[in-house]
């Protein structure tokens, strides 16, 4: 957390410090929620307690849902809450438990690769932020006008224009469902359990 937060705050300060901005209430709310989200995300990837990481992920994902709301995309925000917070995090927690992840601090939560990873991430962050800020310095989003992300609008465009991809997506979900079941079945013990070991040796 201590690695990334100062950079984020200075950048945010730089974005707001310029005189042509008059921060509106929405902007201030967005900034605060964004900071909380970012902080939760950073804790997620740095904490040594695996279950805490999942819980901090809930905070981060919830923050993103709030950001969607602030961007007037309410349907997506609820979908986010339903799917991510409701199912994905639960799945992850189940996964942690099924793999007998240690409860409490585990000193080897990060691999030896972490300094390289930190370098790559910092450079990537710097270059991305620089490019993004450089590109959208003078761009504003007009949040007024007709609602863009209400359930009605989303339902209309989804079932008028995106029906076919939507149906294809349902097939994909079915395939993923079957795949997950096949992969995690326990009764195929004799085959897959011995085979990789024999290969290893």
């Amino acid at each position: 957390m201590s690695d990334l937060t100062p950079a984020a705050t200075t950048l945010a300060a730089a974005a707001t410090g310029h005189g042509f901005l008059s921060p509106t209430g929405v902007e201030i709310a967005f900034l605060l929620v964004g900071l909380a989200t970012l902080g939760a995300a950073v804790v997620t990837v740095t904490t040594k307690q695996l279950v805490h990481a999942a819980l901090w992920l809930v905070v981060a994902l919830g923050g993103i849902a709030v950001e969607y709301l602030l961007l007037t995309a309410e349907f997506i925000a609820w979908v986010q809450v339903l799917i991510y917070l409701g199912s994905v995090v639960v799945l992850l927690l189940f996964g942690l438990m099924l793999t007998k992840a240690p409860i409490g601090r585990s000193p080897d939560a990060d691999s030896n690769n972490r300094w390289v990873a930190l370098g790559v991430a910092l450079v990537a962050a710097a270059s991305l932020v620089w490019v993004v800020v450089d590109a959208f310095r003078t761009t504003w989003i007009d949040l007024d006008g007709p609602a863009q992300g209400s359930t009605k609008v989303s339902g209309e465009i989804l079932f008028q224009h995106w029906v076919l991809p939507f149906e294809a997506l349902s097939v994909l979900l079915l395939a993923a469902l079957i795949g997950a079941i096949v992969l995690s079945r326990r009764d195929a013990v004799a085959g897959p359990e011995d085979h990789p070991k024999g290969q290893q040796r």
Binding site: S111, N113, V116, A117, G119, V120, V123, A124, S127, V131
Partner: protein
């Protein structure tokens, strides 16, 4: 059929025979003998027919061009004059004799088919050389002979001597062939053609720009092929081959090719007085040196080899004084009696079980065991020693007459210095020739000691051939008159002065040798009698192990028996050990202190070793060093660099997916930044 067609068939038949022999030799060994003998016989008959039709008249010239070859055309040409047809008859007859003899001599050899095919190829190449009217075609035959001699000399390749001898024969003749080839090109450039007729026309018109250079270059090739000093060293070593091959090489093919070639192009050589003098010096040195060396050899085949070199010296001498008739006449008679000598020597070696003259001189009654070989060898040796009325006398006299003619300044062709040189050397060599011929005869057939081993009668194919060849050895001299008409027309009959000189020298040599042999034999007879009284002069000495006799005279016997064990690869059957002991060798007394050097061929091999072999070896080791240490360093460096890099890169191959991904993403970020920066820079500029 026209004469031309017949003449084409003459070299073609043995060639086809050789091809068929090589192809069928393994699958149908029963055909090997007919395939070897019949083409040779047929081509001999055809050569006789061609000779009769040609009749010594105008040359028959025929040519056809296969394909245009640029500025200097190469034709398939025939040029049949008296020389060509007579030499072809000789080649055909000798080849037939050799093939017949080989069927018996090598009857148990598993490699007989390939041997016979190579002899056929050899014959065919020589006939091509003889008949060819184009120098390029001649060169083809010339080189085919070279490679065939390599294979045939190395027939017993299991023995080290045969391997090295075949390599030596090949390399030394090739050493001469390189300047020969250059000389041919120079000649063709000057004359504008490879055709012999055109070249001779050019020479007659004085159109040769560099006669001395060309003549000397060609002479180098001739010296290599005809075993003239200083390129003669391969010939004595070539004795490692089977005896019939020696007969073929020495009598009719290979060595005769050089002399024949000079005879063909004699006008080219005559255009340069310097070349003639060089040739005369070469002939004189060859003659005298080989005569001395022949006296000191112990191996019967080496004696004959050195005698071949000497007789070729006579021919070269005749050419050096500008009389090619005498040269080719001597070539013909020498071909006959030398083939006879070698084939007879093969019979002797078969019977005695050894090559060594000293060992033969301790055998009793060798002449009774092989009467045919004894009588025919006697004839041939008399011919070699130039005793009238044998063939050698007439031909050698023809050479001496020509030399005397030139010495008197009666000819334009050669300087009188060359004449004197050849004359003096010729008379001296006549003495030496008679001496070593007598020595060979005495030591081989008049040996005293244990009885010679009995191997039964020699086969008819061997003895019959000997008698067949005895006829020309005996009677070819009487044909001197008519044969002269086939050549340039110079008389070949002897004159009183040279006959007296030559025959006198020969007689002196023979008598001297006989006297020395008597003395040496007497001494040798007393020596073992005093030293070994114990066994009591029983005739069962042949059964005694060599140790008894070896104890006799320790030092000399040991030295001699070491020298007396040449490679006898061709003697298949077992022989009882021949008791060692001092041999009655007249050559030792005759040469005195020179004997040691002569036995070693005057150390010429050692000189070559110093002059050529060692520098070449040193250069080779230098090259090897450069290759190993310098070039290979780069090569192995080129290999080691990537290997080092590879091992470094392999270290990154940890299997850790996260590190792979880190590297991938880092690369992507770098690329993205580079793109962004470049875009900014380009936009700014």
């Amino acid at each position: 059929m026209s004469t031309t067609t017949l003449a084409v068939l003459v070299p073609l038949l043995p060639f086809l025979g050789a091809l068929a022999g090589l192809l069928l030799g393994r699958s149908a060994p029963g055909f090997a003998r007919p395939l070897a003998v019949l083409p040779a016989l047929a081509s001999a008959v055809l050569a006789v027919v061609v000779a009769v039709r040609q009749g010594g008249g105008e040359p028959i010239v025929a040519s056809t061009q296969l394909t245009p070859t640029g500025s200097v055309p190469i034709d398939l040409a025939l040029y049949l004059d008296g020389f060509a047809v007579l030499v072809a008859v000789l080649v055909g007859v000798v080849a037939t004799c050799v093939q017949l003899y080989s069927t018996a001599y090598l009857r148990e050899d598993p490699r007989y088919p390939s041997y016979a095919a190579l002899v056929s190829l050899f014959t065919s190449a020589m006939l091509l050389v003889v008949y060819s009217g184009d120098l390029m075609v001649l060169l083809v035959g010339w080189e085919v002979m070279g490679i065939c001699s390599y294979f045939l000399v190395g027939h017993y390749w299991e023995t080290e001597a045969a391997r090295s001898a075949s390599l030596k024969a090949f390399l030394v003749t090739k050493l001469g062939d390189v300047p020969f080839l250059i000389g041919l090109f120079a000649l063709a450039t000057d004359a504008g053609s490879f055709r012999i007729t055109k070249i001779l026309d050019t020479v007659a018109a004085g159109g040769l720009d560099h006669p001395t250079l060309i003549a000397l270059l060609l002479l180098a090739g001739v010296a290599g092929k005809s075993a003239q000093f200083p390129l003669h060293t391969w010939l004595p070593d070539a004795m490692a081959g089977p005896t019939p091959v020696s007969a073929l090489i020495h009598a009719a093919t290979m060595v005769a090719a050089g002399v024949y070639f000079v005879a063909r192009l004699l006008p080219v050589f005559e255009a340069s007085q310097a070349a003639m003098v060089v040739m005369a010096v070469m002939a004189a040195v060859t003659m005298v040196g080989s005569g001395l060396a022949a006296l000191a050899q112990d191996d019967i085949k080496r004696v004959l080899a050195y005698s071949t070199i000497g007789q070729l010296g006579y021919m070269t001498g005749a050419l050096a004084v500008g009389d090619r008739g005498a040269a080719v006449f001597h070539l013909l008679s020498h071909g006959a009696f030398k083939a006879l000598l070698f084939l007879g020597a093969g019979v002797i070696i078969h019977a005695a079980g050894t090559n060594s003259l000293a060992a033969m001189s301790r055998m009793d009654g060798l002449s009774q065991r092989i009467p045919d070989a004894f009588w025919t060898m006697t004839i041939a040796l008399l011919a070699l020693a130039a005793i009238p009325p044998f063939a050698g006398f007439f031909s050698k006299e023809a050479v001496l007459v020509a030399a005397e003619h030139a010495a008197g300044g009666h000819t334009q062709a050669a300087p009188s210095a060359a004449g004197w040189l050849v004359l003096v050397a010729g008379v001296l060599t006549a003495l030496l020739t008679a001496a070593y011929a007598a020595r060979l005869w005495l030591m081989a057939f008049r040996g005293r000691g244990a009885a010679a081993p009995d191997h039964g009668k020699e086969p008819l194919a061997m003895t019959g051939v000997l008698w067949l060849l005895a006829i020309p050895s005996l009677g070819l001299g009487l044909a001197a008159g008519p044969i002269a008409d086939w050549f340039d027309g110079n008389g070949l009959t002897p004159t009183p002065v040279t006959s007296v000189l030559g025959t006198g020298a020969a007689a002196v040599g023979a008598v001297l040798t006989y006297a020395l042999w008597q003395r040496a034999a007497a001494k040798a007879a007393t020596a073992p009698a005093t030293a070994t009284p114990a066994p009591g002069a029983t005739l069962a000495a042949a059964d005694q192990p060599p140790a008894v006799a070896a104890a006799v005279s320790a030092a000399t016997a040991a030295a001699e028996s070491a020298a007396e064990t040449p490679e006898v690869a061709e003697v298949a059957h077992e022989h009882p050990a021949v008791p060692a002991g001092p041999a009655a060798d007249p050559g030792r007394a005759l040469l005195g202190p020179l004997h040691r050097h002569a036995a070693d061929g005057f150390h010429l091999d050692a000189v070559y070793d110093r002059l050529f072999v060692r520098p070449v070896r040193a250069a080779a080791s230098l090259v090897r060093f450069l290759d190993r240490e310098v070039v290979d360093t780069y090569v192995s460096g080129a290999g080691a660099g990537p290997r080092l890099l590879g091992s470094l890169v392999r270290r990154a191959q940890t299997g850790n997916v996260q590190s792979y991904l880190s590297a991938l993403l880092a690369g992507a970020v770098v690329l993205a930044i580079a793109t962004a920066v470049l875009a900014n820079v380009n936009a700014g500029s």
